[in-house]
Amino acid sequence: MENLLAARAQMALSLGFHIIFASIGMAMPFLMAISHYKWLRSGKQVFFDISRAWSRGVAIFFATGAVSGTALSFELGLLWPKFMQHAGPIIGMPFSWEGTAFFVEAIALGLFLYGRKRLPRWIHWGVGVVVGISGVLSGIFVVCANAWMNNPAGFDWVNGQAVNIDPMRAMFNPGWRTEALHMILAAFEATGFAVAGIHAFLLIRSRGSVFHREAFKIAMLVGAIAALLQPLSGDRLAKGTAQHQPLKLAAMESHFETSTYAPIIVGGIPDKKTERVRFGIPIPGLLSFLAKDDFSAEVKGLDAFPKDEWPPLVPVHIAFQIMVGCGTALAGLSLLFLFFLFRNPSRLAHKRFLMLAVLATPLGFLALEAGWTVTEVGRQPWIIYGIMKTADAVTPMPGLQYPFFMFAVIYVFLFGVVSWLMLRHINAVAQDYPSSANEDVHA
């Protein structure tokens, strides 16, 4: 395997692994806090149990997120030393803030998990909220760094050196707002539907369990709100992409020729040689609208750029389809959920609806990984868009395929262990929390 390819594969693997745990780390504290709040207000044991059962599982995710994140902070240097050498002074800022946020998060988490008996109730709850807030802040900071790679700002590039560096302007680059918002929503959406799906499954197995019904409702509500906002945020994001990275947008949509009334192509496989999309269904005007808020606007196609700067077309196009497909499906499910919740709550326990929720379990995370693939692969061959090529940033150490294979084995193994632990955890819930099986007449 070629060195550059191995480095990219290792980076993608590590980030793809980390982001799952990071997203759970951002969203889960809020789910717990909601349930905890309901307990503090209503005094109903079931909400205490839900929050407690969740927090036990979450500790495992937290630790895995923390170690995989620590690994990443080394890997950035180990794989892309030249990138870090130039980017460090410019974009180290969000990372140092991220460090602060993690620190607060780790401390608050220690207090939250071990302090249930020692802290006053409401302070304990407040500490849980701090865990969530600092998790979200760290997510925002790291996405600022990524947004900068897409929209470099805050320096002048003179003869291969960065001068006039302004870390503040780099951090708050033109892309950070939309990208961070999209990412945070994605974390809540993915986690919400995954948790809801698990409880829906358990609800089908033990109908009438108050525990699973309430847990399902909380998780679903959080997921649904995020899912309905996500297409709006995606639309904002696409407008930014159209402005700052028109080539990436063209690759996402396999839009080969610059044109007005540009179509969105649903499905299909782009072919770089013939410059055609096979099997796709074009919807005229929609891309122009997505990019410029105007059905007739002109959208630059791939033909406006030199062919050797095109990103890999097939993965970018397909990943974008997967993301938008999952997003649409989840938004549909959310509408249904909200409709039932307000008009016909008994329907929420209907088996068919629960089956739908079970099917939706992985969709959020699928969209999340696909979204990152769009952003990252779509930026190739650049590591800093328009400034530095990925090939120029890779470490000179030969033989990178060996660390890659090793990390692949480690991550697959870890993933297996974490899944196994979750299964054990879910099975244990039934025994530890009587309310998970009991019916409760007045709830």
Binding site: S73, L109, L111, P398, N427
Partner: protein, 344 residues
């Protein structure tokens, strides 16, 4: 030299201060944490369950906070001293990767062991990973530190071996790795004396602390010997600097007091002495290294010639100061809730 030192902007000094303090705290707090894992090797069957409980109770709430110091160091290096970060990442790729694997294995096995919903046979496997990585990670850390001395990194290299292996696979870094493991174990044993109830268990931690202190002194001797093998003129460099010499002398003469304190089981005396000894040893090392970060044949990379531009330093220093305003009170609160509250 004095001129060079006084002419630096205050922001650089703030950044350097944070770098040094993070290193110290990582060695002290993280060190005790790693060492506790090493100590598990030596638990006797009879007391294993109780001692394991003590270790878990002492480390549980703080372990994640501990390893943040390492991340802080990484962030300061790559934002404040990007050339150094890049150079180290390239040439010490292998020991750093090895250390990463240790960090991953340790963090995961610790948490999985604690949070596994069923406490069954799997506990044994977690323990194996946990103990192994508790030895492995500080070993790699010491090796990495040991490679920064003269003759370590070759930025211009002809062969793979010269560029990526010779820098760390040599007597001195390996000996320093060994020393780090011993030092951390020593710290943990001393710390745990105070965490255990008076009686048989405390006596056994006391005995371990004594053994560990002797082994650490011996390992220190090995480091000097290995330096000789590697043609590193370590002793003259120590003697050259009055402060470094003073630190080493102080560390040595405090040893008898430490042993006496151990015999009497004066918990806070031995804890403070052990902490002070580690701080002294690290300070001596930092002092002879100062202001060099990485020794290179063609001109060393120092704190003063490899730092980021002023504006970056300013913002980094500001971030560190503001960050500590959040972190220190909450860290204090965490320790207070868990350490000063002895009932339960």
């Amino acid at each position: 030299m004095l001129d060079l030192v006084t002419n630096q902007p205050i922001t650089l000094w703030i950044v350097i201060g944070f770098l040094a303090v993070s290193l110290l705290l990582y060695c002290l707090l993280g060190g005790a944490d790693f060492g506790a894992g090493v100590l598990e090797i030596f638990l006797r069957k009879r007391q294993r369950v109780e001692q394991h409980k003590i270790i878990e109770k002492a480390m549980g709430p703080v372990w994640e906070a501990n390893h943040m110091w390492l991340i802080l160091m990484v962030v300061i290096l790559f934002m404040g001293f990007p050339e150094v970060y890049s150079l180290i990442s390239i040439h010490l790729h292998l020991p750093l990767t090895a250390m990463l694997i240790g960090i991953i294995a340790r963090g995961c096995s610790f948490t999985f062991r604690h949070y596994d919903a069923k406490k069954g046979r799997s506990q044994k496997s977690y323990a194996v990973f946990f103990i192994f990585s508790s030895v492995w990670t500080p070993l790699c850390l010491g090796i990495v530190m040991g490679s920064l001395i003269p003759g370590g990194i070759h930025p211009v290299y002809a062969t793979y071996r010269e560029g990526f292996i010779d820098s760390w696979f040599r007597p001195f870094p390996l000996a320093l790795g060994l020393f780090t493991v011993c030092l951390f174990t020593f710290l943990a044993a001393v710390f745990l004396i105070g965490e255990s109830p008076a009686g048989e268990i405390r006596t056994s931690f006391t005995r371990r602390a004594r053994v560990a202190s002797i082994v650490t002194v011996l390992a220190g001797g090995v480091v000097f010997f290995a330096a000789q093998l590697d043609d590193i003129i370590l002793i003259p460099r120590f003697l050259h600097s009055a402060i470094a010499t003073a630190c080493m002398i102080l560390a040595t003469i405090s040893l008898p007091f430490f042993w006496m304190g151990l015999r009497k089981e004066w918990i806070w005396t031995v804890r403070s002495l052990a902490g002070i000894q580690v701080v002294l040893i690290l300070s001596a090392w930092l002092w002879i290294q100062f202001p060099v970060l990485v020794h290179l044949p063609g001109g060393d990379l120092t704190l003063f010639n490899s730092h980021a531009p002023d504006r970056t330093l300013f913002q980094l220093a500001a971030a560190l100061l503001v960050g500590s305003a959040f972190i220190l009170p909450s860290l204090f609160y965490l320790f207070q809730v868990f350490k000063l509250d002895e009932e339960d």
